[in-house]
Assembly symmetry: C2
Homo-oligomer: 372 residues x 2
Amino acid sequence: MTRALLDAASTAGLDTPAVVVDLDRVDARIAAMAAVMREHGVALRPHAKTHKSLEFARRQLAAGAVGLTVATIGEAEVFADDGVRDLFIAYPVIAAGPKAGRLRRLAERCTLSVGADSVVGLEALAAALGGGGGAGVAAASVVIEVDVGGARTGVPPSVAGALARRAVDLGLPVRGVFTHGGHGYVGRAERLSAAEDEVTGLTAAAESLRGAGIDAPLVSAGSTPTAELSAHGSITEERPGTYIFGDRQQAFLAGHALDDTALLVASSVVSHGSGSGFVVDAGAKILANDVAPYLPGHGTVVGYPDAVITRVNDHHGIVGMPATSARPAIGAIVWIAPNHVCPVVNLVDEYVVALDGRIVDRWPVDARGRNG
Amino acid sequence: MTRALLDAASTAGLDTPAVVVDLDRVDARIAAMAAVMREHGVALRPHAKTHKSLEFARRQLAAGAVGLTVATIGEAEVFADDGVRDLFIAYPVIAAGPKAGRLRRLAERCTLSVGADSVVGLEALAAALGGGGGAGVAAASVVIEVDVGGARTGVPPSVAGALARRAVDLGLPVRGVFTHGGHGYVGRAERLSAAEDEVTGLTAAAESLRGAGIDAPLVSAGSTPTAELSAHGSITEERPGTYIFGDRQQAFLAGHALDDTALLVASSVVSHGSGSGFVVDAGAKILANDVAPYLPGHGTVVGYPDAVITRVNDHHGIVGMPATSARPAIGAIVWIAPNHVCPVVNLVDEYVVALDGRIVDRWPVDARGRNG
């Protein structure tokens, strides 16, 4: 079980609910993932949608990340504004409407890679980037998205070569192939098989590109549960995001305790309700509403192993406990490890940054809400 | 089935995903609820946590609302800054730490009512407001929260009088009792019984106050599913929130079609994936992740009655469809009625405001993220 991130005096001055990060733990997590990737000889391109923060991105880049992964043009704009020069939008962007100009301006000021999984997507990219066949296309590369079992976006590996060929014909340089083994979030066994699916599927996709006469350097896999497991064979890059903080799902999937979780939600007990549990001021508007089939409820309450957050309403977290267990006093501050950290960060304007149990800074969630 | 909120030309210029509201429909909804409450002789105090917007609050007040309900001190601060003079924080606020001074400053500049369901809460309020027994307490009133079956916060009705007596002894004026019949969100039959639970429970609570020698004017119920149903008998006020826009849950619970839903999420089809469905750029970071036991999936796609949003990831909405149904083209903009509108609004910085199918303005979500 993890511990509170602030000492008693700092906790007493905190306005709840708040997202608190322990900087030592974050730095240890950044260093550990960087070391694992170095050891495997695989490039690390962290997904910045988890933290959406310039400060955390700088720390990842300083630790050796080759660039950042983002999910949207809006996120890319925020990091490009801060001087990040190598960005990969790992998403099948449709560069139509206002997105066309935004993508072109972005490509003019950084080394940009953009995902694609359809001819329509490629044609929009080519049009947006000033191409349409041949010269004049701005400096953005295409990375073909492959579905290796996640059943979300991406083409089957065998089709990747044909789509890459179409990109080249449209004047778009092809950098390689990527996937997200999201089906590894289903459970521990699935985590292992999803990692192997990433390797097998991406290897086949890279072969499909070579078969189409395209020799592209990038073979990029990515998800925190699978990152270390798939960093071998033909894989050249990993894109984990959640590893920077960890959360309840990640700890379960990795079979770890919650000991080193680097982000917790500090919340106040506001009521004992009418049952044997209690109610906190952290509801769905800070804990989000993500649930996992393998975890009961909406988060772990530090120091209360019997407690289950059975329900979250907008501003209420309803915590169930056996009547025989002692519950925290009304007014007490309790610490919650959320199920999934990405939406939590996106619900607040700032991180409370802690070091050695004290608040040392507050950092904005710079790319919060940049959904498009 | 509802329709798109923008005409083709305006839709083409939209950057997705975006939260779009139809102002005519909003005004009709505001007027209809105001008329119903006038007819019942019950005051209307809309819950502003749904819209978190000064513009929408002004329209509700202009239509006759007696003031606003909010969930947090932070929301109250935003509306007080705009000149709203009558605010009810319908939440068992624990006015400790930084919240003590914030609450006192708020009480100094508006007519403030604050929920309480514990002695600890009352003592913190009295201390924060400069009380401690008798004179000197700032102008804030206490409203005792009662649990009528929602199993969240609130005391049993029979205990309300004793708690109110304690408030008076602490120098805090007691304005009355309130509840939220949240168990009406479970299904249609439960909606009807939750409304009756509100009336029965609040009537008993008001009697409990009179038994304790406290004659307080306010008997306040509140939730959109129950608002019209419980606006009778001893009830003096209703606090619905979601009615201003409507959503998929509300339409189902009321047995209505989605025709007059006033807020939709515009999103782009980014992929056909590898199945028979499609993927949109509206995921959990704009649709949120609320599900209801009586509704499949995460939202209704306008014009695609066979479609079910089977899964939302951060930036992906995965839509399932029978292979025999025609799906929208990649790049097409589709309109989604979300399950629950409150968290959706809280995930964006602005409303795209439409009238007669055209974009006429953009309004900020002024109190977005004001969680504490």
